[in-house]
């Protein structure tokens, strides 16, 4: 049985055709009838389909009769392609023995592909290069094969040329999976060890864990133990993904499937944990994943205070299958009760916000994101600050450190200048530049992470007409001359508008911020001074003048309803604003800092 299983994932850059290829593999193996297939089966979240990205892991079991006449079970575990989600990638890699490296025959290798393929090679996976989109007139598979050999150092004798769209090369890929990727190791008679690589919450069945069995077996009625929490449960159901869940009697070594065990509390299952037997437990848990620390933080507040509990429940549920999300309650004078949330990156933050708003129908106010700062106080205490409002007063700070990243940007050579300009503007230090081929280069810079948070990716894309791709990795903390910039409205500091900036930029940022706020904050019954301050020193000031006129014209022909609706609309708009002292602030003001042009 075990030698007829192959577990693999697909590594690809966004738009290089991973989802289409997955669809084709599902179709060719007859896993789903064509009419059951919705385009791009694996991207099951609305959000994923709309944005054309994969965020969450998905798994599907394919049954394939190979040319040698034997039937194989191929488990495909999907991987996200975006820089923020390397954590998810490392999870799917841990459940596989092999990977398809899909590269677009026109675009060639992109920054994120590089990062993920190195992860796969580090995890000792067998990597099969697949050049996709060879049907396009501008396809240049020879060049791309050379790139793979020269840049990654991966031999390409076994590479497959394909067009997922046209269905070319699909059988060759399936044969290569069977031939090249080793079957899973593992002993069915050893104590149970199954890796939880994902999970989600089902209202009717409780927690559904996605597992890969390494040793032993798991079946209905079995008593299991979660090794991290040491809690025990009885298995209700096990099965595989076809992609719909299909119950099977037993999961044996190498198998990928699901396990339902009446676990009601989201916090009791941890992705990366090992399931073992309650009797005859394994002595050691499996190695989990490379733990990634969230580096981007922002405050999430319900815009209606009575939605606080709903927000907490929603975060609990998202956390279940996104262990990289962290959050803890915080209180803001301006925004009330909410959560300080930590994310892997900006896209991760946006995705979580959108899921909260769409799937949980929450209306949120978000504060501008910041990184995690390290502070040494004058009393030699080390602090990590995830909220600018919590920064100690400057006379208590000995030194401050901010996280730096090594950023790799792959770009056609005509954009080298503009890319370097962008990185210099963002306090970057040039490290290296290498030609991938005659036309494309990898530029390496070291940058403060905080500079990447503010509009960096959009700038990168727009200044390179969409050609640049970016990958970054944290390289540690560095000392920096940082200050806290406070915003005062009507003389009162607004905690949720504070930010930490480089001292040299404070003046500029303060001016930009006050100016932007003057445009966003509507006129009210009195003049509202807007001040930016560093410590006690005011560095910029603007005023929102008092409102002078707010009157509806006459009632034409007694159409009172129309008038009333206008007033109701106005009142609704007023209600959506946050009251801070005597000032009403529109919700978008709290994200203003992101959009300050410098």
């Amino acid at each position: 049985m075990q030698d007829r299983i192959r577990n693999f994932c697909i590594i690809a850059h966004i738009d290089h055709g991973k989802s289409t290829l997955a669809d084709r593999l599902i179709e060719v193996t007859g896993t789903m009838a064509e009419r059951e297939m919705q385009e791009q089966v694996l991207d099951s979240m609305d959000l994923e389909r709309e944005r054309g990205i994969t965020i969450k892991l998905q798994a599907v079991r394919l049954i394939y009769r190979a040319q040698n006449g034997t039937e194989y079970i191929l488990n495909l575990i999907d991987t996200p392609g975006h820089v923020d989600f390397s954590y998810e990638v490392s999870r799917s890699l841990a459940a596989c023995e092999g990977a398809l490296l899909v590269v677009d025959a026109v675009q060639g290798i992109e920054a994120q592909t590089l990062a993920n393929v190195y992860l796969a090679l580090d995890s000792n996976l067998t990597v099969i290069p697949v050049i996709n989109k060879i049907d396009l007139p501008s396809a240049d598979p020879e060049r791309v094969l050379r790139e793979i050999e020269e840049v990654i150092g991966l031999p390409t004798d076994n590479a497959i040329l394909c067009s997922a769209k046209e269905g070319i090369g699909i059988n060759e890929i399936l044969e290569a999976i069977v031939r090249e990727i080793p079957p899973p190791q593992g002993d069915i008679h050893a104590p149970l060890q199954a890796l939880i690589f994902d999970s989600h919450y089902d209202t009717y069945r409780g927690v559904i864990s996605y597992v890969r069995v390494v040793n032993g077996s798991i079946s209905r009625g079995q008593k299991i133990r979660l090794m991290a929490t040491e809690r025990e449960y009885e298995v209700d159901d096990v099965g595989v993904f076809t992609p719909p869940r299909l119950p099977v009697p037993i999961l044996t070594p190498g198998m990928v499937g699901y396990c339902i065990a009446g676990i009601k509390n989201v916090k009791d299952t941890r992705v990366g944990d090992t399931i073992t037997g309650a009797t005859n437990p394994a002595p050691l848990a499996l190695t989990g994943y490379r733990k990634i620390t969230p580096m981007v933080f922002c405050g999430l507040y319900p815009s209606e205070n009575n939605q606080y509990d709903e927000l907490r429940d929603a975060l609990d549920k998202l956390k279940l299958n996104d262990s990289s999300l962290i959050y803890e309650p915080e209180t803001s004078e301006a925004l009330g009760f909410g959560f300080r949330c930590g994310f892997l990156g900006l896209l991760h933050m946006e995705v979580i916000q959108e899921r909260l708003e769409r799937e949980y129908e929450l209306d949120l106010v978000t504060t501008a994101p910041n990184t995690l700062y390290r502070v040494m106080t004058t009393s030699a205490e080390e602090l990590f600050i995830d909220n600018p409002a919590h920064l100690p007063p400057s006379n208590k700070i000995e030194t401050m450190y901010e996280p730096f990243v090594k950023a790799s940007i792959i770009v056609p050579e005509e954009y080298i200048g503009t890319m370097m300009e962008l990185c210099q503007e963002r306090r970057g230090t040039f490290r290296n530049m290498e030609y991938l081929d005659t036309a494309r280069v990898v530029i390496t810079y070291e940058l403060p992470l905080s500079e990447i948070l503010y509009d960096f990716f959009d700038q990168l894309k727009s200044r390179s007409r969409g050609y640049a791709s970016l990958d970054y990795e944290l390289i540690g903390y560095r000392e920096a001359d940082l200050v806290k910039l406070d915003v005062l409205l009507n003389g009162e500091p607004v905690d949720a508008l504070s930010c930490i900036v480089h001292a040299d930029r404070a003046q500029q940022k303060g001016r930009g911020l006050t100016e932007k706020l003057r445009k966003i904050i509507p006129r009210q019954m009195f003049d509202i001074p807007i001040q930016a301050a560093v410590g006690a020193k005011i560095i910029a000031r603007e005023t929102v003048k008092a409102m002078r006129k707010d009157v509806l014209a006459k009632c034409y022909g007694g159409d009172i309803t129309r008038k009333r609706k206008l007033l109701e609309k106005q009142k609704e708009g007023k209600k959506r604003m946050k009251q801070v002292g005597s000032v009403e602030i529109p919700q978008e003001a709290f994200m203003t800092i992101l959009k300050v042009d410098e």
């Binding site: 009157v551 509806l552 014209a553 109701e568």
Partner: protein, 378 residues
């Protein structure tokens, strides 16, 4: 019985003004006769149900002066079969300055019209063109003269401010022209940018820029000062009148009393229910031909809603304000007590004043009326 108004809507216009988003029809013979037939049916149908005494009649539009004397006579005659009014009751007719022929005006007078409301909007020729008004400034001089000759003592003019390219001086100049024409009532109101109007399109395309909030506020305040100095009282947010010349019909709206609206798109308020007619003439005619009320929206006001609207509308009247005694008679409670929190907040801010008889906006409060009024919404 309290006051009750009768409103007749005439959705005809020779052309569409730049800023207008009301349903209107071009003046074509078959459309006019279709309108006339249908409105007569509506008078009969509504007359059967709600006939009886009314205290005012108002022809509004659109452009009622697109109708001939004979057509006006038909409507009034039909109304009179079901609705009655005392001699001398206020019967207003909205008229465009280009219908100032003395015979037309004398004819209206003999039909019983007592009050004319002239849609001048601006006395600056450049602006008349810009706004796509179909009259000239000399039309206005002529109609003013003839209104006096025809013997109308009750004469109101509309003036618009805050539209593109208009300066404060030009607006004051328009007001001066109006006051010199011998009016005793002025409706002066700020342009509101309505979506889907030709103006909104021009503004969105950047061809036209609207004046700033401050410029509009300056016009509102300076215009008010000027009209008050000319002896007109600022009795309602956008209306000014000489002593005893306040609009009785509009006062019915502001006092949240009952009115019956006739014609496509007209609104009615009867016994706590708001109705509105379908605004499309063809649909309106089909329903009436089938002997059905042409009503498309009907809303029964809940208690708090009706009280809130009574406050919101009453606050438009800057002298009378909300009559506490009448509010008490109507709803069985004192409005100052009922809205205690809101009222005391605005009194403290100097935007409202409360006397034994009334609650009203102060001179500081009227420019910010919406801010106050919205707090009375349920």
């Amino acid at each position: 019985m309290t006051n009750r108004g009768l409103y007749i809507h005439v959705p005809l216009c020779t052309s569409k003004c730049l800023y207008c988003d009301f349903y209107s029809l071009p003046v074509a013979e078959e459309l006019v006769s279709q309108y006339l037939d249908a409105v007569v049916r509506e008078i009969r149908l509504k007359g059967e149900i709600w006939g009886g005494p009314v205290s005012t009649v108002y022809f509004g539009g659109g452009t009622p002066s697109c109708l001939s004397l004979g057509q006006v006579a038909t409507i009034l005659r039909e109304c009179n079969r079901f609705f009655t009014w005392k001699p001398g009751s206020e019967i207003t007719f909205e008229i465009n300055p280009n219908r100032g022929e003395i015979d037309y005006l004398r004819g209206l007078k003999s039909l019983g019209i007592t009050r004319l409301s002239v849609g001048l909007q601006t006395a600056e020729p450049r602006h008349l063109t810009l706004l796509r008004r179909q009259h000239t400034v000399s039309d206005f001089y002529r109609i003013s003269e003839n209104i006096a000759s025809a013997g109308f003592g009750n004469y109101s003019v509309d003036a618009l401010y805050g539209f593109p390219e208009q300066t404060l001086d030009e607006y004051l100049c328009t007001l001066k022209t109006i006051v010199s024409a011998g009016v005793n009532h002025v409706s002066s109101y700020a342009l509101q940018l309505e979506p889907h109007t030709p103006l909104a399109v021009e503004v969105a395309q950047g061809n036209i820029t609207l004046p700033t909030e401050d410029e509009v506020a300056d016009m509102m305040l300076a215009g008010r000062d000027y009209l008050v100095a000319q002896g007109l009282s600022h009795y309602e947010l956008s209306n000014f009148a000489a002593e005893r010349y306040e609009s009785e019909h509009n006062t019915i709206y502001w006092e949240n009393e009952q009115y019956i609206g006739l014609g496509p798109g007209a609104s009615s308020f009867i016994k706590g229910r708001r109705f509105s007619n379908v605004d499309n003439l063809a649909h309106y005619a089909i329903l009436l031909n089938a002997n059905r009320l042409p009503v498309v929206a009907c809303e029964q006001l809940a208690g708090l809603q009706e009280m809130g609207e009574t406050m919101i509308l009453g606050l438009r009247m800057l002298r009378k304000g909300v009559n506490r005694e009448r509010f008490h008679q109507r709803f069985g409670c004192d409005c100052v007590q009922l809205y205690n929190r809101v009222v005391s907040k605005f009194v403290a801010q100097g935007l409202l004043e409360v006397t034994a008889a009334t609650v009203r906006l102060t001179a500081r409060g009227f420019p910010l009326a919406n801010r106050v009024q919205m707090e009375f919404l349920p």
